[in-house]
């Protein structure tokens, strides 16, 4: 299930940036360990319904629409991009009108090439239309950044959609296609995050095919490749003693997909988890005991030591790979900062994917 969701918890960062200083980290990572008082609880056995669940769930404290893409340009050079929209409710209770609305929105966008990493961020308040998400036809937007479907968008595949973001020194526009339905992570969409019940609702679309253009400074190139979208919402997704996570989404050359993460705890213990998604969409949860995630090399970025190279093995699946980042400097120096960048891997399986490191 879905640790990945948590991974992107940069949203937490959003509030961290907006409302909470760094000391909040002492109590769980970026406020995600706060109690869920007043917000809707995450319980097992929820029935998902589309397109409604593509839209926002304002009764829950936090939510995100998180997309990463592994692309190559016309010259065959690899690159990656990220598009994320976070929602956070500053207070529980009925939704208030206009400026009084308690939702705050934040978005991150980034492009990464072997020699370049660019990022941007946006903030907006809910209630007035500057940012928001609509389920049908699907649209998620903040200012001029958007992920937008049409009447033709399939509710089950969430495709086709177009994706746009622009900043002073980069911009991109992608069309995303998919021929397989979204995949529920965890236990039918219920993704447990700790032994004490912290959890989130989590589904993904890991089968996006992407095509479009990417501009860095004044240079525009055509790009194409595959993309992975995560949808996750929760009210208290992390335990208070969990300090951060290492998360991977992997596109295997075979067409299979693999999501892996480990939640790091204050006591040094990890909470690893994985989900194997076969090319036909069937999923298989992988428990912590089966996952061996070993940092192999660190890179010093933004004054921190980050494990950007990993040795990963899942003996039960005869899976053993070594991951390397496309660009070790893929640091997201946003209000709440973290490392997020494309990787490639080789071993028993080859492929590309995305790595996220938070809490370092």
């Amino acid at each position: 299930m879905s640790a990945n969701g948590l991974s992107r918890r940069a949203f937490a960062g959003s509030l961290a940036a907006l409302a909470l200083p760094r000391y909040a980290f002492a109590q769980g990572y970026a406020g995600l360990g706060e109690s869920a008082n007043g917000f809707a609880p995450v319980v097992p056995g929820r029935a998902f319904s589309f397109p409604a669940d593509h839209g926002p769930h304002p009764d829950f404290r936090i939510e995100w629409w998180y997309l990463t893409a592994n692309l190559v340009d016309a010259a065959g050079a690899p690159c990656g991009l990220q598009w994320t929209l976070f929602r956070q409710a500053a207070a529980s209770g009925p939704q208030r009108e206009g400026w009084a609305n308690q939702q705050i929105w934040m978005a991150h966008a980034a492009v990464t090439r072997a020699d370049t990493h660019r990022f941007g961020e946006l903030f907006a308040r809910g209630g007035i239309g500057q940012a928001g998400v609509a389920a049908k036809p699907f649209a998620a937007w903040i200012d001029a950044w958007e992920m937008k479907g049409t009447d033709a968008t399939d509710d089950r595949t969430l495709a086709p959609v177009v994706l746009k973001a622009s900043s002073a020194d980069f911009s991109y526009a992608l069309t995303l296609q998919a021929d397989r339905t979204v995949v529920l992570q965890g236990d039918a969409g219920f993704s447990r995050k700790s032994e004490r019940g912290q959890a989130s609702y989590y589904y993904s679309q890991p089968f996006f095919r992407a095509q479009g253009t990417l501009r860095i400074d004044d240079k525009t190139v055509d790009v194409s490749g595959q993309a992975w979208m995560d949808r996750e919402w929760s009210s208290q997704p992390l335990a208070s003693d969990q300090t951060g996570w290492d998360w991977l989404s992997l596109h295997l050359a075979s067409g299979d997909k693999l999501m892996l993460y480990r939640l790091r705890q204050k006591d040094g213990q990890d909470y690893p988890f994985g989900n194997w998604i076969a090319a036909d969409g069937r999923t298989e949860q992988i428990t912590g005991r089966d996952i061996q995630m070993t940092p192999k090399a660190t890179a010093e970025v933004a004054g921190r030591k980050l494990p950007v190279e990993w040795q990963i093995a899942i003996p039960s699946k005869s899976f053993s790979i070594a991951c390397k980042p496309l660009n070790a400097k893929a640091w997201m120096g946003t209000g709440f900062s973290y490392w997020e960048g494309p990787i490639s891997f080789a071993g028993t399986h080859n492929g590309v994917g995305y790595l996220e490191l938070t809490g370092y």
Partner: protein, 801 residues
């Protein structure tokens, strides 16, 4: 002695200059704060093309099109009868590059945005409102402000709330006043393609409106500071000259002994710089006290004249101290330059003069006179072709400089005439010696001339203003009692009650609204049609039957300031924005509106209410027989629980206006006095310097048989007569300065032109003051001469000199 003189010169040069700088800096900081506060004029913005506010959806449209805009709603609210600016901001989108705006700590964002929210307020304003942090005062419509919270760097007289709260408080749901534009991300779509012609772009203004308005005031202060700085340098110049003169033999000896000129000069410069450093420090401390003493008046002036808010507590930056020391050292070096050059070129042996003093002086006078004529020509050109405030000050500066330069020539002519007419040998010597002393005294006399001329000019202006202002005030304050009700309902009740009172002969209801003309905020004043106004309201220019034209509501009177700003004359048409669309007004008259920082249009009050239905009708003027006034006021206060600010009789309002007026010019008077004082010191030090160097010239006269008291009396008469001649020249110059101030500078700076009056008594007084100052300055050296020991005089004849 010279050390003291040198220090006095440097200290007075540094003190007044840095005091003025401190005040200017304080004011500029305040303007910066105002300009930067949540998008003053330093920020580019979008405003509605033809209305005060526009729908919020335009904000969303622009954001979606990639425009980095942040919405803002502005209005005024009343708290306990006090009107105050309310600013609604949106902190999440507020551009980070909005100058040095007080940033909301990220911690505070949730508290500011979420319920109950916060009202940010400056410390001064909190005090003015008589509120404490956390209070939630009600505004006039009954709504309560979010809890007040003090924000240190916030500009005063403004309340800052979240935009949502502002919309609620001001009753403007989903409306915004303007959009601040932050740094662009990527290329936003063209403005017109997003919002059509509904919004227009206002480019950022490097200079704020306040700065533009107050420029003249600060220029004025700077001019005073500069004047005294130069006068101070005159002092230094004479002190250094004397010190050098006295050390000449020693320098010669040292040179003769083999000390190199470079070494000697280095030593001299190091000594001078060290002295300048010490004097600069003392001067800065004095400057600090001057600034601190003047600041309350300056703040009052700026508030009264321009509505600019300056905190009354002086804060100084490090740069100020450095600049003060720097200017002291630089000034000392400049003042000492001639002496130092002399030292560098010092020949080992004294040689005979190639020229008689008269010839040298003649050449010097012709040179200086030519320069003066050139400067006068510049003044004439500026007067003819200049059109700005700077040009106005340019004319002033050129006039003063020219007059200063021509002064020695002027005095020379007088003295030469005197010499020609002299019969007795002592009279002959009196004139001849005065002439010879001219070059030594000329700098000090120039300082005296400038200080006097400025004094004459400024006091003539202030007096002219005062007289005009009083007459105007008498006309403007036509009603006998002024009442301001807390709200409309109470106003109706008061009006009804007043109708029952036999002593109330008339109730004149007025109204005020705010609008925009050509993008500038303008005040609309509504007056009832009443004989009292027709008879007494002062108009500068009128169309025929001006008051009758006002009644139907399509004509207005315009304030002099606004008419100049808009270049509007009687008969022109002005278009103003109203909630119901544009309103065309024929200009039927121009009236003086002294002291109002805002442009103003006066219309019939009924017409005003038709176009601005929201206008509160809370103000009224009453016509009441004089002897019934106190009784009526007491009854009103008792009946409606009104405080002193809400009910006032004409005399009180007038007294208050005059008090504000007087305070406005208190600074000018203080600086005037300072400048005259410094000029006096310059004269004193020059005379002291001369006194020493004149001993060899006076001793022979004494030896020949003129007693010391007689010599002293002659010396005193000489000083007083050149001072008198200088003062006499200063009078016409001062009047010219006054004319410049009234006809050029005031018009550019304030927007009003005042009639020019001459006040002979004042001029006589000033001449007397000048003579007194000269007398005081001359007294010390003269007394020293009168009491000088013969031995001292005899030394002049000693063979080894």
């Amino acid at each position: 002695m010279q050390l003291a003189t040198l220090l006095i010169g440097l200290i007075s040069a540094t003190a007044l200059w840095s005091g003025v700088q401190a005040i200017n800096q304080q004011a500029r900081n305040a303007y910066d704060r105002a300009a930067a506060t949540f998008g003053g004029t330093r920020t580019a913005m979008l405003v509605a093309s033809d209305a005060a506010t526009f729908p919020q959806e335009l904000f969303v449209k622009l954001r979606r099109a990639g425009w980095p805009v942040s919405p803002m709603l502005e209005g005024r609210v009343q708290i306990n009868g006090r009107s105050i600016r309310l600013l609604g901001i949106e902190p999440v989108t507020l551009p980070v590059d909005v100058g040095n705006a007080p940033s909301l700590g990220r911690n505070d964002l949730a508290a500011f945005v979420g319920p109950p929210g916060q009202t940010l307020v400056a410390r001064e304003t909190l005090g003015d409102l008589q509120q404490v942090e956390g209070a939630t005062p009600a505004i006039s419509n009954g709504a309560k402000l979010p809890p007040l919270r003090m924000q240190q760097q916030l500009v005063s007289d403004v309340l800052v709330v979240d935009i949502g709260a502002a919309q609620r408080l001001l009753g403007k749901p989903d409306q915004i006043s303007r959009l601040l534009i932050g740094k662009a991300r990527g290329k936003p779509a063209p403005l017109a393609s997003v919002v059509g012609d509904q919004l227009q772009l206002v480019e950022p203004n490097a200079e704020t409106e306040l700065e533009r308005l107050t420029d003249s005031f600060h220029l004025n202060l700077t001019a005073f500071g500069l004047l005294s700085f130069f006068v101070g340098l005159f002092i230094v110049n004479s002190a250094v000259g004397l010190a050098f003169e006295q050390r000449l033999p020693m320098l010669r000896t040292l040179r003769a002994c083999g000390a190199s000129a470079r070494l000697l000069n280095t030593v001299l410069v190091v000594e001078l710089v060290a002295l300048a450093f010490v004097a600069g420090l003392v001067g800065l401390v004095c400057g600090y006290f001057i600034a601190a003493a003047l600041l309350p008046d300056v703040a009052a002036s700026l508030r009264g004249l321009y509505g600019a808010q300056i905190p009354g507590q002086l804060t100084l930056r490090g740069e100020w101290w450095l600049a003060g020391i720097g200017i002291s050292i630089l000034g000392a070096l400049i003042a000492a330059a001639t002496s130092l050059l002399k030292a560098i070129r010092l020949p080992l042996l004294a040689t005979a003069q190639p020229q008689a003093w008269q010839q040298a002086q003649h050449r010097w006078l012709i040179l200086q006179g030519t320069a003066a004529l050139a400067v006068f020509a510049v003044a004439a050109l500026l007067l003819r072709y200049g059109d700005s405030l700077i040009a106005g000050f340019g004319v002033l500066a050129a006039l003063m400089l020219g007059a200063a330069l021509i002064l020695p020539a002027f005095l020379e002519i007088i003295l030469r005439t005197g010499q020609r007419g002299a019969r007795s040998p002592l009279a002959l010597w009196f004139w001849a010696d005065s002439r010879q002393q001219l070059s030594g005294l000329s700098l000090a006399l120039m300082a005296l001339l400038l200080a006097l001329a400025v004094n004459v000019g400024v006091s003539t202006m202030v007096e002219s203003f005062s007289r005009t202002f009083l007459g105007w005030l008498n006309g403007r304050l036509a009603a006998d009692v002024y009442v301001s009700a807390p709200d409309n309902a109470k106003a109706v009740a008061i009006r009804n009650w007043l109708r029952e009172r036999s002593e109330v002969q008339a109730v004149l209801s007025g109204g005020r609204a705010e609008t925009q003309v050509a993008g500038q905020p303008v005040e609309l004043l509504g007056l009832p049609d009443h004989a009292l106004y027709r008879e007494r309201w002062p108009l500068l220019e009128t169309a025929p039957k001006a008051w009758t034209q006002l009644v139907p509501g399509n004509a207005a009177f315009i304030s002099e300031q606004l008419s100049r700003r808009l270049n509007v004359r009687v008969g022109d048409v002005v278009e103003i924005a109203t909630p119901g669309g544009n309103w065309e007004l024929d200009i039927a008259g121009i009236y003086a509106d002294y002291g109002n920082p805002k442009g103003q249009l006066t219309v019939n009050v009924a017409a005003l209410l038709r176009h601005f239905p929201q206008t509160p009708q809370t103000r009224m003027g009453l016509i009441v027989p004089r002897d019934r006034i106190p009784g009526l006021i007491a009854a009103l206060q008792k009946q409606f629980a009104l405080d002193d600010r809400s009910v006032a009789d004409q005399a009180t309002v007038k007294a208050e206006s005059i008090r504000i007026f007087n305070r406005t010019f208190a600074v000018t008077s203080a600086l005037n006095a300072f400048t005259l004082g410094v000029a006096g010191i310059a004269l004193l030090t020059s005379l002291l310097t001369l006194a020493n160097s004149r001993l060899p010239q006076l001793a022979p006269l004494w030896a020949i048989g003129i007693t010391r008291p007689k010599l002293a009396a002659i010396e005193l008469t000489k000083t007083l007569s050149v001072a008198l001649f200088t003062a006499l020249l200063a009078l016409p110059l001062g009047l010219l300065v006054a004319w410049c101030l009234l006809a050029i500078v005031n018009v550019k700076a304030f927007g009003w032109r005042l009639p020019f009056h001459v006040f002979p008594q004042q001029l006589v007084e000033l001449v007397a003051v000048a003579l007194l100052a000269s007398l005081l300055a001359a007294l010390l050296p003269v007394l020293r001469l009168a009491r000088m020991q013969p031995a001292t005089l005899v030394k002049v004849f000693a063979n080894e000199r």
